[in-house]
């Protein structure tokens, strides 16, 4: 529990003066994400966020918590559970080591994402140290705020390329009173169709996932609403503990882990896309909008398809951008980090 912002500012200023690249690290649970650029001539400064922790403020009736970036997701979950609240985007905890700063930077959202939003949707404000070594605050702790550009949500997914996130304010939701998982044995095509039927219905759904010939649907909300929906959808009820384990495995990315020369591919696109968008799909999450496959490295990053984990990580892992988009993102990077200090080459070789 310490505020190390001034130390972080000093470190960034030092790195800037010495032209030292900066690698931002937290719980080190996301080392497998993004590129792993070949080491440069100068060893990087490791900007360690693990001691920069603690809840700064939490007001349950405001549905907002503000915490330092190094605070563990599992610690936040504990604090929130005491007040019967939750992080809406259901992020992975990665053996209790994932931090809120890293979760925001990597934009990590769990099975509930299509119904309760991504990290960015719950992000209300943050503190950021830019490449000039300036500690700044954007957004705030209120639900609606349109003063200035949305620098806060811009950071979600930026993988620390624009600066060091020092603290974040997150919008919260009440915990569900009831949870019920149904299972349907279906062919993949039929499962996709079933998912689309549900998309246009008003149902208390918080997860739809297809794995090993089974379609799982998680209903969460008020007791009577969930019971009503469970009856309406029929299907086979999954034992509560088994269901909890299953959704935890989905959330923690434990179902598909690449071994040796395997690569884990992730596709993100329209929920009704055909099965062909990702050859040999093994796992369908987010009601069709997120799909996963383990493969030897024969694919290439392309529309919606990312090399999520494993494989050659000095090559690009994200789909290529056109020249205009590259130039725009470079200029944005420069607007925050003129000397290119932060996490260079992590998102793209050219950024």
């Amino acid at each position: 529990m310490a505020d190390l912002t001034s130390r972080l500012v000093e470190q960034v200023l030092q790195a800037r003066a010495e032209h030292t690249p900066v690698h931002i690290i937290g719980g080190q649970t996301k080392a497998h994400l993004g590129r792993c650029p070949a080491p440069g001539s100068k060893p990087p400064m490791l900007l360690d966020m693990t001691e920069h922790t603690g809840v700064i403020s939490y007001s349950p009736t405001e549905l907002v918590i503000r915490a330092r970036a190094g605070t563990k997701i599992s610690d936040l979950n504990k604090v929130l559970a005491e007040q019967h609240q939750r992080l809406p985007f259901e992020p992975p905890t990665y053996n209790d080591q994932a931090t809120i700063g890293g979760t925001v930077a990597a934009s990590q959202s769990g099975p509930a994402r299509p119904w309760y939003g991504a990290v960015k949707d719950s992000l209300l404000g943050l503190g950021l140290v830019n490449g000039y070594g300036e500690a700044m605050q954007f957004g705030g702790q209120v639900m609606k705020n349109v003063a200035g550009f949305d620098v806060t949500r811009l950071q979600a997914g930026a993988m620390g390329s624009l600066g060091v996130i020092t603290e974040v304010s997150i919008k919260l939701l009440p915990q569900f009173n009831a949870s019920h998982t149904l299972v349907f044995e279906l062919e993949p095509q039929a499962a996709l169709q079933r998912m689309q039927t549900w998309a246009s219905q008003s149902l208390p759904i918080s997860g739809v996932c297809y794995w090993q010939s089974q379609l799982y649907v998680r209903l969460q909300g008020g007791t009577s609403g969930v019971a009503e929906a469970a009856q309406q959808l029929s299907g086979q009820t999954l034992d509560a503990e088994v269901a909890q384990d299953f959704w935890q495995q989905v959330r923690e990315h434990q179902l598909l882990v690449p071994q040796d020369d395997q690569t884990l591919w992730r596709w993100s696109g329209p929920a009704n896309a055909s099965l062909e968008v990702l050859p040999a799909t093994q796992l369908i999450n987010w009601a069709g909008a997120e799909r996963w496959a383990l493969a030897a490295e024969a694919l290439a990053p392309s529309a919606g398809l990312c090399k999520y984990r494993g494989g050659d990580r000095q090559a690009e892992v994200n789909p290529a951008l056109n020249a205009h988009d590259q130039a725009l993102q470079r200029r944005i990077k420069q607007a925050f980090d003129p000397d290119g200090l932060f996490n260079a080459g992590r998102l793209y070789a050219w950024l």
């Binding site: 209120v142 639900m143 349109v146 550009f149 811009l154």
Partner: protein
Amino acid sequence: MAPALGSNFAALLSSLKALLPASSLILSDESQRPFECDGLAVYQQLPWVTVLPETLAQVQTILRLCNQHQVAVVPRGAGTGLCAGAMPLAEGVLLVLAKFDQILDIDLQTATARVQPGVRNLALSEAAEPFGLYYAPDPSSQIACTIGGNVAENSGGVHCLKYGLTVNNLLQVTMVTMAGELVTIGGEGLDQPGMDLLCLVAGSEGLLGVVVEIKVKLLPRAPRVQVLMAAYSKVSDAGDAVAALIGQGIIPAGLEMMDHLAIKAAEDFVKVGYPTDAQAILICELDGTDAEVEEQLQVVSQCFTDHGAYQIRIAQDAQEAAALWRGRKSAFPAIGRISPDYYCMDGTIPRNQVAYVLTRIGELSAQYGLAVANVFHAGDGNLHPLILFDASIEGQLAQAEALGGDILTLCVDVGGTITGEHGVGLEKMPQMPYQFSDAELAQFRRLKAAFDEADLLNPGKGIPTLKYCQEYRSLQHG
């Protein structure tokens, strides 16, 4: 006729004449008059010329030409904005997107819609209605305001706490940069790798690009919507009831508060049966399946009663529900009836500060001698004080603006913001240096320059210049 300016303007005008049909180029003062202001009519300026392109290629060429001739451009949707964000420039082109009014696609399988920027907010929900879907953000101007304008302002509405702002309902935006380049941001899916440019563009007030196509998500209509109203004799009781309700884990679809003056004005205007002796009323909307709504309704009614409501009215049918909402939605015109002019503010505050802030606004109101009515999106903390004044009385507009400025700094002081959903535009420039440090404002300016290096797209709005900030700081310390 457009006034004569530098030779670059003459060259630009002849290029525009060659590019556009006569019906898409407006030059006379008379015909440009309807475009001289947006919804904040105290700020007025005739544009140099007004263009209403019909094709994407025309938009690109217009921007490329203006960039080449270094002439500023102000984009405009329906002109319903409330911060003078679309106020024209005397030496600038006003780019009106009104002709881009087509709904391109509604996809039932993914519950999404692809629209042009000039599509009206309500028209989209109406088009989706036969499929049981709707578009969630519903600003009070939804009859007239456009989706393109909603993206520019990141508009909210009365259902934000549960269903989010425009930014939370966007999937993809195609926009043209000042250089005339077409940029597609976001995508077909729920996320894209890298920095979230979609969020950056939402609420960027037309400073970063001109939006030409938008993909949004649609939501299934809830089978049941239940509206109820609770009346309080103390504002603080109503505030406590809101906090308690949320503390109990209820997220209403809508939760609005009106104070005594707003209640009285609305009731006199639309006669929906609001209790005119109340100091505050809450209007609460619950939605979901029958079972869900029934379960919540009991908790909400009990909570309101426990916190001192002396009257609770549960709408018995859709008609009564619509009536309860009509009072709230007519609050602005209702105030317009009892005062020659009114000035609408848009601060957001932490909900637990509402009783303090309303008391403080009451004191400021007495100090300035101008009445203030308050409507409050209590669910999300967005406060709309309406300052009553008479512009025909010398000095009252300036007094109203000064009072408004004090209310906004009060919102910042309690941990809130100067604008929840209306935007900064030209209007709230004076408060920007109060909310943000010089370093933060400089960061905004560098970000703007990454999209528009010469500061030609809607210049002078949203983000104050360095010079503006220096003058502001010297005044504060002077």
